[in-house]
């Protein structure tokens, strides 16, 4: 019944929108029978033979690893697959209609709050979806206030959306979605970019607002564990299709059976002495005075709540910013041969820095510089003075190690999230730096990528690297960290 949808049918049927917004419409039933989706640019089917029925008011979690087709299924349900760009087989309906016709009754909460908020004030943002549906002004504000209260938004309507934390922003986006009373609520890894407390803010708001079963809920997330208490059923997407997971199912812990190589204790390579940082034009320090040492063969985890300066500390250790108080000093062993700056990494030339301290940012895309994976991996070695032949040999070896050889000529931007993360770590390893600094390397990674990453870091540690990770990931701290530094909120520190 779906197949190719004519382009002119994508306008929202007014009667459905009106019925939904006056809240006469029941929660939607979702039916997929033999659903297959293939992107025009790819040979393989992203989804194949998917059978799934979600009853009205049910809450279902769709899980699965990277590349299992979770995002494609979600886009299909939301009716936002580009009809020109995909081939669709089988049947998919939402509330008895093709997804494209049902768009007005589907609410979508995606990952990045900053690309979902429209207005500068919280209340205006929630009102946006009601204005679009032509709801009379006098009905709008009472409904906005109810939606804000329902998600547990703690501020007034006039609160600037920029002054909110990530978790609070996502709660606000959720209010803006729920105020339209969707028949189907789609959640696309809504906590992937949040820390633990932020993710909990979002999940508790979802649990509270959907407890009355007024809407059908489909959550798509590779990280199944945290959602289990609030869903009725779990289905897992695999390359072979879809598998129903019975009651009592729990995902295998990602660290289960992980055996990491031991490392000999080595000398201190980099040390911070009362290093602190205050941004220009601000009164309070982003990072209070901090002491730490990074030793060869040891991994240090930097933890602590948001806003304690963890990422700032990573920038200082990486030689990207100079501390505004105290100092960061490299050991002679590490600084030896740097043409400028002596033992202060922030004064080193970039070409010297790249061979000594490898840094991995939160967002891999910000560090990509070339149009091919192969060039991306050769860039660091070339910059630090390796011969072209050596640099390219290093690149090929890393591609092979990370299972990315098949994509050697692909553009880094076209990789999946997990592949991009592996590539960004590989680019930092390509110059064999003695110190590795990583900011939230496991954010949003599935179990498979997570294990690969932890193993890779442990191998570098065994080879005599000093590793520093800034992280909220308790599993990562348990599996990898030899030492732990917990940053305290300003004021509570001695």
């Amino acid at each position: 019944m779906t197949g190719r949808v004519p382009a002119d049918s994508c306008a929202l049927p007014t009667d459905v929108a009106r019925a939904q917004l006056s809240r006469n419409l029941p929660p939607a039933r979702v039916v997929a029978r033999g659903l297959g989706v293939r992107h025009a640019s790819r040979h393989a089917w992203a989804l194949h033979g998917i059978d799934l029925v979600v009853e009205p008011g049910e809450r279902v979690l769709v899980t699965g690893g990277s590349g299992a087709g979770k995002s494609t299924l979600l886009a299909a349900l939301a009716g936002i697959l580009d009809p020109e760009g995909v081939e669709i087989t089988g049947e998919l309906t939402v509330g008895g209609r093709a997804p494209r016709q049902a768009r007005g009754i589907v609410g979508l909460l995606a990952q990045d709050p900053d690309s979902q908020l429209v207005m500068t004030r919280a209340g205006d943002d929630v009102a946006f979806g009601l204005e679009n549906a032509g709801v009379p002004a006098e009905e709008i504000w009472p409904r906005v206030d109810r939606a804000l209260a329902a998600v547990g938004f703690r501020y007034g309507r006039d609160r600037s959306t920029q002054a909110l934390s990530g978790g609070e922003k996502q709660r606000l986006v959720l209010a803006g979605v729920l105020v339209r009373c969707p028949g189907l609520l789609l959640l696309d890894e809504p906590t992937a970019q949040l820390d633990g407390p932020g993710a909990e803010l979002v999940r508790s708001a979802v649990a509270r607002t959907t407890a009355d079963r007024s809407t059908t809920v489909v959550v798509v997330d590779h990280d199944a564990g945290p959602w289990l208490p609030l869903v009725d059923r779990v289905v897992e997407l695999t390359p072979d299709g879809i598998t129903e997971r019975g009651a009592g199912w729990v995902p295998t812990p990602r660290a289960a059976g992980l055996r990491l190589p031991d490392a000999p204790d080595g000398p201190v390579l980099l040390a911070a002495e009362a290093a602190g940082f205050t941004y220009r034009g601000t009164a309070t320090a982003a990072l209070g005075p901090t002491d730490l040492t990074l030793r060869a063969g040891r991994a240090l985890a930097v933890t602590g709540p948001n806003g304690t300066g963890k990422s700032t500390l990573a920038l200082l250790l990486a030689g990207l910013r100079a501390p505004t108080s105290g100092r960061i000093e490299a050991a002679h062993e590490l600084a030896d041969g740097a043409r400028r700056g002596g033992r202060r990494p922030d004064r080193w030339r970039a070409a010297d820095l790249v061979g000594r301290i490898g840094t991995v940012f939160q967002n891999p895309e910000q560090q990509f510089l070339t149009g091919r994976l192969r060039d991306e991996l050769a860039l660091g070695p070339l910059r630090s003075g390796s011969h072209a032949a050596t640099a390219h040999a290093t690149a090929e070896e890393l591609l092979d190690r990370l299972g990315l050889t098949a994509y050697a000529d692909a553009n880094p931007y076209t990789l999946s999230g997990g592949q991009q993360r592996r590539l960004s770590v590989a680019t930092a390893l390509a110059t064999s730096p003695r110190v590795l600094v990583l900011d939230e390397p496991t954010f949003g990674q599935d179990a498979q990528t997570w294990r690969e990453l932890v193993t890779l870091l442990a191998e570098r540690r065994a080879a005599g690297c000093a590793v520093a990770v800034v992280t909220h990931d308790a599993d990562l701290v348990r599996a990898l960290a030899d030492e732990r530094l917990e940053l305290q909120p300003a004021g509570s520190a001695p």
Binding site: A11, L12, A17, I80, R103, G104, G107, L108, A110, D112, D114, S115, Q116, L117, V118, M119, T120, A127, F128, G129, L130, E131, N132, A133, G134, V135, A137, I140, W141, V144, D158, S160, T161, Q162, A163, V173, V177, R180, G319, L320, R321, A350, L353, V354, G355, G358, T359, F361, E365, Q366, Q367, F368, L369, L379, G380, R383, S384, Y413, A428, T431
Partner: protein, 254 residues
């Protein structure tokens, strides 16, 4: 983050009580008058009137004023100097007149931006002037992303240093590096923009249903008085100019 990019709740100043479309109407009147007159008296009177409105727009501290207007002042001075220097009949009065004209044309924009919340502007434009909502609220959403770009610029610059790329003292390398960062920013902005468009569509934006407006936008009598006052100032300016014999409209042998 520069102050001019910080968008937030409306500044509460006297001039914000004038409806944005009334301010825009006044701006058009001033623009037409200044564009058609080439003397020094007309822009002098108009600029003097505009300066009296600065405190009403919350721009009474010289520091805040200078930070917002220094490119404008630099432009006005250079327009005056260049015209005097390149003119066949150089005259300081002509130069001052042209410089004042630039200031007179730009100040209404400065006043508007300083006193007007972008959301109120979009509301007023769509409700009173029937500007398409897709354009007005689309632009509003894009504007919200501007401060994010500033933060991202700095992150990308640091990210390049981690890959061994920096310009050092070579000016050519500096330009190339800036170009590369600009491209990376653009790619990021396009991606974020398309995600935002999806999110807006998912909330029913531009779906063919006539849009309502939760905040509304009301035209008061004071808005009419504001426009009338602007017309009076312009009439006085032209009358003074004619009376002093300085009047030289652009269409008559300008």
């Amino acid at each position: 983050m520069t102050a001019s990019l910080a968008l937030g709740p409306a500044p509460d100043v006297a001039l914000s009580r004038i409806n944005p479309v009334a301010q825009l109407t006044a701006l058009i009147v001033v623009t037409v008058v200044l564009l058609t007159s080439l003397d020094v008296v007309t822009p002098a009177v108009v600029v003097a009137a505009e300066l009296t409105l600065l405190p009403a727009a919350g721009l009474h501290r010289p520091g805040a004023l200078l930070r917002r207007t220094w490119p404008l002042l630099a432009g006005a001075v250079s327009v005056g100097v260049v015209n005097v220097a390149l003119s066949t009949h150089p005259s300081v009065v002509t130069g001052v007149g042209l410089g004042l004209r630039v200031v007179g044309l730009a100040l209404p924009g400065v006043l508007l931006v300083a006193s007007t919340d972008p959301v109120r502007l979009a509301d007023a434009l769509t409700l009173h002037w029937r500007v398409p909502t897709r354009f007005a609220y689309g632009a509003l959403a894009a504007l919200r992303l501007a401060p994010l770009l500033v933060a991202e610029f700095e992150t990308i610059r640091l990210a390049r240093r981690t890959r061994g790329v920096e310009a050092g003292r070579n000016p050519l390398a500096r330009v190339r590096l800036l170009g590369g960062i600009g491209f990376a920013l653009l790619v990021g902005a396009v991606r974020r923009g398309s995600r935002l468009a999806t999110a807006m569509d998912a909330r029913g934006f531009d779906s063919g249903i006539p849009r309502s407006n939760a905040r509304g936008s009301v035209l008061h009598a004071r808005d009419a008085w504001f426009v009338a006052g602007t017309v009076v100032v312009c009439v006085v300016a032209v009358a003074l100019s004619v009376a002093t014999g300085a009047w030289s409209p652009i269409f008559v042998g300008g």
